[in-house]
Structures are given as C-alpha cells and as structure tokens.
C-alpha cells in the first residue's frame, strides 16, 4: 500500500482556517464560559476573528503568485480542492467586511429592552410558560455567533472551491447555520420558525438538485475537478445529455441560493420571518458567496459550453428581474418588499454574469459582477439595519402602513432609508447607479444588448416601488399612533454609517473598488 501524504498550504488558507477556528472556539465558549459573560466573550471573539481573517485575507491578496500571461493570479491549494485566486480573495474581503458589520447588528441589545433580537430559548414552544420564563430570566442564545462564523466560513469556501464536492460541502456549511439562525427570532416566533422550516425544506431540496447535477457532470467528465471538467467540456468527450442535464441541475441548486426566479419563492417568506439582523447578513453575504461560486463554476468548468447555457440564463435573468420588480409592487411588508428587491438585484447580477465580456476594452463581466456585489452588499445591510429601528410595542413595525409619515416623525432615519432605497433603485450619485452601470455596460459590450434593454426597462419598474415607500414616508400622515424610532446603540449606528458611507463613496468615487475588482483578474484554472 503506497500512500502519498497530501500537502496543505496552511498559510494561503489562513483566512478560512481562522474563521473555522473561531467558530470552534465559539462552541467551546458556549460550553464553558458562564452565561453572563457569554454575550461579551462571543461578540468580541467573533469581531476579533473576523478582523484577523480580514488581515490574513489582505496578506494573502498581496502575496498571490502571477500565473502565465498575468491575466490571473493565485494558486490552487489543498490538493486541487480550493482555488485561492484574485476573485476568491476579493469575495473573501467583501464577505468579511459585510460579516463584520453584520456581527454588530447581531450584537445590538439596545432596541428591545436590553435583549438581543434572538429567541431566549429556541426550544421553548411559542406562547408557553417556558417561553415567558426564558424571557423574564433574560436568557439569550449566544450560539448565534458561532453559527454565524460557520456560515461565514462556508461562504468563503463556496466561491473558492475548485472541486464540485468541496463546493457541495461548502454549500452545506453555509446553509445549515442559516437555516437555524432563521428560526431564532425573539418576536413573531411562529413566523420565524415557519421561515426556518421552509428554508430548510427548499434548501435541502435544492442541495439535492445540486448533488444530482454533480453526479451527472461526473458521469460526463469522470472528474469533479473544475479544470478536468473544463477539459472534458472543451473536448466534448462523453455523453452530451449527461453534461446538459448536469449543468441544468447544478444551475437549479445555485440559482436557488442566489434567489433567482423561478427558484425565488423562499426569499420573501424567509427574509420576513428571520430576525432582521440575520436577514441582513443572509441577504448580503449568501448572495455574494453564491454568485462567486456561480461565476467560478460556469466560467471555469462550463465556459466552453456557453452556447448551451446562456439561453437558459437569459430567460432566468429576465424572469428574475420581472418577478422581483413586479411582485415587489404589491407587497405591504417592508421586509418582503426588500426580499423581492433582492430578487430583482439577482436578476441584474445575472445580466452581468451572462454578458460574458472578457475584458479588453471596458470592464469585464466578472469585474462588473464583483463590483455590483460590493455595492449591493453594503446597501442591503444598511437598509435592513434601518428596518430594525422602526418599532412599536410588538417589536419591529414591518407593515408598510406603519411607515407612513416617518419623514415627519424622524427625518434622519427616514432620510437614510430613502437614500438606501434610491441607491437600490439605481439613481445616479449612489452606488446602485454605478453598480448597474458597470453590469449593463459590460453586458452590452459582451453582445447581450437586448437583455440590457429589458433590464433597463425593468429597473424603471423597480424604481417605482422604491419611490412608493419614499412617498409613503414623506407625503402621507401616520395611521393611528406612529411607530417609535428606537434609539440604537453605537453598534447599529456604526453599521448604518458604514453602509451609508459605502453607498455614497461607491456612488461618487467607484474608481478604487473597480480597480480592485479589475486587479483581481480572472479565475485560475
């Protein structure tokens, strides 16, 4: 029996390993640290871990080896399982920054009478004596921090995986904690648990699709390595049916995570039911991770089969934009509306993705999508952070009617929210505009101009429902007693400030981040 010990590049993988390690330490903290100290220890641990991982990411980013013609940088590590290249590192950095400000939202305890937004005792049935006791004793689940760290680790691994099986493992690592986190809301627990169950059911189902697709692609190419698959696709060896079936099934799994129509139906329910901090984290980071993986998979592995999958993505993109924009119009719940808005954003991202513009003149598709993800991430976290502030006796006041007249009640909060909405609509001088511009121009240069025309038209439709909320906040009178705007602690304030700052800066000065995205170069194979 001969055995070659595998070689693991620990230094290059250090950002991943730090996040995983912190998550494990978090579990130990849960086990051994007394209850009253846990909140402090866990939140500080999560923050420190994320900052350390971010530092490690920057160190790795400056140290990437240039490959071949210089178009791509990075290296394939861990026996071909993980590709640490420019796009990976870019996505890591974005994810870690957004996770950092999401942790601040998680740690907010100022809004609900000194209690966090998470259930006191998740195992207690809603509406029972046990639940009441848990909340009077001031219990809270500090497990959310390790869970979140596991999710972040999975999200970092997902777009960096260079092997379909690693990708599947990463998908599960990022999904399972999120399912749990969705069910941990302190208020409206039945809704929250319903959301968690729906997300779990549909998520498990989509994972099944993904895995079946992996099996078919393996049947086609005889390997799960992206490079080997690319070679097989290029040479068209093996059964064509297997490849097409595999691509379609994998796409179903991926598009589910992205939240693209017709696989978007979980989005509104889950975004509405989950604790708002989790919604913010999930909406921003899952989409980034899933798009990173989608890009890598389709550009690297299935790049040569583009004729086969672009028509499908065209249809999905149009459908997604249409569903997101049109259905958002009829929503009466602010979180559901933002959920449909995120579906629409997934559609715009798919436009950029399917443009397939290699670069040369203008910005490449990869670069534009990465840039859009950054802008989208910050404004989403910011917007959801504002949603946590508008409250009444029953917790957050999410019904749109409760937002009427907010402009008079609290001009600052209404103004910030209006700004986020304008950014999402893509009004110039916000990051939303520069993001859309980048995505549409690269798609147009890639020859997908009919799609771009449709996308521009649909973004006008989308602008309408964003403006509706602004009109509601400023030009109508409050119904009944107006909801109070809670005064947040420094944590949520910082989150909103960072989101706001990023949205403004990226709207006025997109250059540096665009350069950074361009600097990331192409995927390595």
């Amino acid at each position: 029996m001969s055995f070659e010990a595998p070689h693991i590049e620990y230094a290059t993988l250090s950002p991943l390993l730090i996040v995983f390690g912190v998550a494990l330490v978090g579990v130990l903290v849960e086990a051994f640290v007394p209850r009253r100290l846990r909140y402090l220890v866990q939140s500080v641990l999560a923050l420190v871990g994320l900052v350390a991982a971010l530092a490690a990411t920057i160190w790795v980013a400056t140290d990437l080896t240039v490959r071949g013609d210089g178009a791509a940088r990075g290296s394939i590590v861990a026996e071909g399982a993980i590709a640490v290249d420019g796009p990976s590192v870019f996505v890591w950095g974005t994810l870690l920054l957004l996770s950092l400000i999401s942790v601040l939202l998680f740690a907010e305890r100022h809004l609900d009478g000194g209690l966090s937004a998470f259930a006191g005792q998740a195992a207690a049935l809603p509406g029972t004596e046990a639940e009441r006791q848990a909340s009077t004793r001031g219990l809270e689940h500090t497990e959310v921090y390790p869970l979140m760290m596991f999710a972040v680790a999975g999200m970092m691994l997902f777009p960096a995986s260079n092997d379909l099986l690693t990708m599947f493992v990463a998908l599960e690592i990022l999904s399972l904690p999120l399912y749990l986190l969705c069910g941990l809301a302190r208020r409206r627990r039945l809704l929250s648990q319903e959301a968690a169950l729906k997300y779990f059911m549909l998520g498990a189902f989509s994972s099944g699709f993904f895995l079946y697709g992996v099996a078919l692609v393996y049947g086609f190419s005889g390997s799960t390595h992206l490079a080997a698959i690319a070679e097989a696709v290029n040479g068209r060896i093996g059964g064509q049916g297997l490849l097409l079936g595999g691509i379609a099934l994998i796409a179903v799994g991926m598009l589910f995570k992205v939240g693209a129509a017709p696989f978007h139906s979980w989005t509104p329910d889950v975004y509405q039911g989950a604790p708002t901090a989790v919604t913010a984290f999930m909406a921003a980071c899952t989409k980034i991770a899933a798009f990173g993986a989608l890009l890598r998979l389709f550009y690297v592995a299935f790049g040569s089969a583009e004729r086969d999958w672009t028509p499908m993505i065209w249809i999905v993109a149009i459908l997604t934009m249409a569903v997101g924009s049109v259905f958002a119009l009829s929503q009466t719940d602010i979180k559901r509306m933002l959920a449909y808005s995120s579906v629409a954003h997934a559609g715009f991202l798919l436009v950029g993705f399917v443009g397939l513009h290699e670069g040369g003149e203008g910005i490449s598709s990869l670069q534009s999508v990465l840039f859009y993800l950054v802008t989208y991430g910050f404004m989403t976290v910011g917007a959801f952070a504002v949603v946590t502030l508008v409250r009444d006796a029953g917790g957050e006041a999410n019904h749109l009617a409760r937002w009427a007249g907010l402009g008079k009640e609290s001009p600052l909060v209404a103004g910030i929210f209006a700004f986020f909405l304008l950014a999402m609509a893509g009004i110039p001088l916000t990051s939303g505009f520069t993001g859309k511009w980048a995505v549409f121009s690269s798609a147009a240069q890639g020859g997908a101009w009919p799609l771009v025309v449709i996308a521009v038209l649909l973004s006008v439709v989308a602008a309408f429902f964003y403006l509706r909320v602004i009109v509601l906040m400023y030009f109508s009178d409050p119904v009944g007693d107006a909801p109070a705007v809670a005064v947040p602690s420094i944590l949520t304030t910082v989150t909103i400030a960072i989101g706001l700052a990023a949205t403004v800066v990226l709207g006025i000065l997109p250059g540096p981040v665009l350069d950074l995205a361009a600097d990331a170069g192409a995927f390595i194979r």
Partner: protein, 439 residues
C-alpha cells in the same frame, strides 16, 4: 515488534469465493443448524446456571439433565394461539420478527470457525467460514443494526404503550452502545491492518488482542451486553416496568422468533469478541504447545469453547447484577464509554505511530500522552462535576415525602428526608448535583 512486520500486504482473501454451490449450501445449512442448537443449549444452560446461583435445581425433567427442556418449550409455543392485537399494524407486526431473525443468522456468515479443512470423504478443501470480505466486521455491524429494526418495528406496530416504550428504549440503547462498540474495534483494525475476520484471526497467531488492547476489550464486552439487551442492560424488556417491552403483544412462534434472535445475537457478539480479541479459533496457551492444535477440526472446539465462556459470562451477569436505571445506563454509555474509547484510540494510534519507521521521539510522545491525559481528566472533572446550568438557577424543590397525600420516593437529585418523621426535608444544597453553582 519490528517495523517490517507492520506493513502488511493487502487482504488476501483468495481462499474464499471459490466454493462450489453445494459446498456453500452445505456450510450455510450447517451454520444454521449449529446456531439453532446453540440457542436451545444456551437457553437450557442459562436456566441451569441461574438456578444453581439461586440454590435451585432448574429444568431437569426432559431428556438427560433436562437438555430437551428448551425444545419442549418451543413445541409448546407452537401450540399456543397466535394473537394479533386489534390495535396492531398487521403487516409490520408480522414482518418484525422476521426482520429480527434474519440478520441474527446472516451475521454469522463471516465468522471464522476454523482454518481450511478437508471435507470428510471428499477431496474438497474449504475454510470453515461461509465467506469473508475486506469489510467483514463492518458487515457484521451493518447486519446487526438491521436487526434493531425488527425490535423497533415490533414495538411500534404492536399498538401498545408498553411495546412502544420498549421499542424506543431499545433503539436508543442499541444505537448508543453501538457507537461504543464501533469505537472499541478501531484499535483492533489498527493492529491487524485489516477488517476481514480471517485476516484478523491470522494476525493474532502470536498474541491475542484481548491482552494488548485491554481497554478496547473491556469496552467491547460492556457494549456487547448493551447491544443484546441482556441483564443488567435489559431495559427494553424490563418486566418490572414494561411487562415484556417490545414483545409484550407477541405470542406463539412470533414470540419464539424474537427469543431466538436474542439468543443468536448473544452468540454473534460473543463470536465477534472471540474473533477480534481472543484469537478466534486459535488454541489457548497450554494447548497451543501441541502442534496439531490449530489444524483440522480441532479449532472448532477452541472457538466454541471461547464463545461458551462468553455466554457463561452473560449468564453470570444476569444472575449477579440488578438492572440499571435508564438515565444511569445512557449516561454510562455516552459519558464514560464513548469518551474513553476515543481517548484510547488516540493513545493507541500515537504509540503505533511512534513505533513506525521515522516515528516520533519517544520523549516527546510521553509528554504528549501526559498532556492529553491531563486534558482528558480535566474534561472529565469539569464535565462530570457540573450539570447543565438550567436547573442550577432554579432552587431545588424541597423533597416532600407525602406529595399529593401519598408516600413517594425522592426523585433523582432530591435528598431524602433527613428526619423520617418530618414531611418537609432539609435538603443540603451542596450534595445534590443540581444545586451546584457554575464556577
């Protein structure tokens, strides 16, 4: 042991798979007959031995020494009415005993009863083992866990509270102890370098693993008693609490099939213990000096001798020990057996790695072992000393010996009344585990 003997060739199973259909059928039939006879013998033996331990005589009427007693019991059961309760799920109810019995027999397919022998009056040479495979022990574990379905489904389908509880208990118990059992085997595979039963027996030619892997052996023996639902771990059929547990509603030969399955399973775990830890069919020491001891049909004798020793051990336990309480039983499995097996695996692997070529410096290894040991002991003290903090914050309720007007015994953790005449006891806060404050 020198390093050269360590690296072994891939499993050599060339002796297997070449038998003709007739030989296979003959061996399968022989195994079946031997198992049925072994069961009949074991039941009689158990009754006789337990009787002796209790100063009784035991069955002595039917046949010499009452040997035919179990056969008579079987015939009697066949003549009893076969009842299917009206609350039962008919199909599953009938299927459950079948599901319990088949795996019990099938597990014996890979147990080596002896070396290669010549079948009398023919020239055919064949191993005294139905078949072997590279994952034979895993096969036994897999098949044994199918048998659990029989018990669980039997309990579930009876439509009775006692049966359901018995079935649930037994599934929880069996899966809990299966983990410990599975972990106990890792050290054996580590030393044998194979999972095939014949290879493992072959590897014990010089020294039995039961002597060098004592902790594994002890853990396995404890777990095997738990796996077979035998006293003191016979909670699924605890007659004091659950009437008959999962087979409360079974009668006639369906009941007999469950009974058969339980006794064959006893034989199976005993045979596996023999194979993995006591050198299988190899002759024990004083006899092994004789060259012919490990040849021909003699090994079958040594093998069954060892199996019967284990069976005697089972009976002895039953005659000696009272049944465990369920929480103690589960706590023992999860909090003692599993962590100690994991620690033992790490220790064995470390020692093994150190003896390999280019291994670790012994000195560092000793430091490492010391560190791990300290860590483990520390975890035990912390983990075992403090319970979950939820009850810690609630005041322990003072024990009321006449709660509700009836005399009641104290719950676990409640201190009994210090003064027998007072109804309100004075609990000492330091003594009950719930009252310990988190440090």
């Amino acid at each position: 042991m020198s390093a050269t003997t360590m690296v072994r060739a891939a499993d050599d199973l060339s002796a297997f798979g070449g038998d003709s259909v007739w030989v296979v059928l003959l061996k399968a039939l022989l195994i079946f007959v031997v198992l049925v006879l072994l069961t009949l013998f074991n039941i009689w033996w158990e009754r006789r031995v337990v009787a002796r331990m209790q100063h009784r005589i035991g069955p002595n009427m039917h046949g010499p020494f009452g040997l035919l007693q179990s056969l008579a019991d079987g015939v009697k059961l066949a003549l009893k009415e076969d009842i299917t309760p009206k609350a039962a799920d008919k199909v599953v109810f009938v299927l459950a005993p079948v599901i319990a019995v088949i795996p019990a027999f099938v597990a014996w397919a890979v147990i080596p009863l002896g070396p290669e022998v010549r079948i009398p009056f023919t020239d055919t040479v064949t191993p005294l083992q139905l078949t072997d495979m590279p994952v034979a022990v895993l096969f036994v574990l897999a098949v044994a866990s199918v048998g659990i379905y029989g018990i669980v489904l039997g309990g579930w389908s009876s439509g009775s509270t006692y049966s359901l509880l018995g079935g649930l208990r037994s599934s929880a118990q069996m899966i809990s102890y299966e983990v410990a059992m599975g972990l106990a085997l890792v050290a054996v595979f580590l030393y044998a370098g194979s999972m095939s039963t014949s290879e493992i027996v072959e590897a014990q030619k010089d020294v039995w693993y039961g002597f060098i892997l004592v902790p594994s052996f002890v853990i396995y023996v404890i777990a095997m008693v738990g796996e077979t639902n035998r006293a003191p771990f016979d909670l699924p059929e605890a007659e004091g609490e659950l009437v008959g547990g999962f087979h409360t509603e079974y009668s006639s030969l369906k009941f007999a099939l469950f009974f058969l399955a339980e006794y064959v399973n006893m034989g199976t775990v005993a045979a596996l213990a023999t194979t993995l830890f006591l050198g299988g069919w190899h002759a024990p020491w004083p006899i092994s000096i004789w060259d012919g001891a490990n040849e021909g049909y003699w090994p079958v004798l040594w093998f069954f001798g060892k199996v019967l020793c284990f069976i005697f051990f089972f009976i002895w336990l039953r005659g000696t020990l009272p049944r465990l309480r369920y929480d103690q039983f589960m706590a023992f499995g999860w909090k003692v057996l599993i962590p100690s097996s994991l620690a033992w695996i790490v220790a064995v692997a470390t020692v093994r790695a150190a003896t390999l070529d280019g291994g670790i410096d012994r000195r560092y290894m000793l430091y490492a072992i010391a560190a791990v040991a300290v860590l483990m002991i520390g975890l035990f003290l912390i983990g075992g000393g403090e319970k979950e903090e939820e009850p810690a914050e609630a005041e322990p309720e003072p024990f009321d010996a006449f709660a509700g007007g009836y005399p009641v015994p104290p719950m676990p953790g409640q201190a009994p009344a210090s003064h027998p005449t007072s109804t309100m006891s004075t609990t000492s806060p330091g003594s009950s585990p719930e009252s310990r404050q988190e440090s």
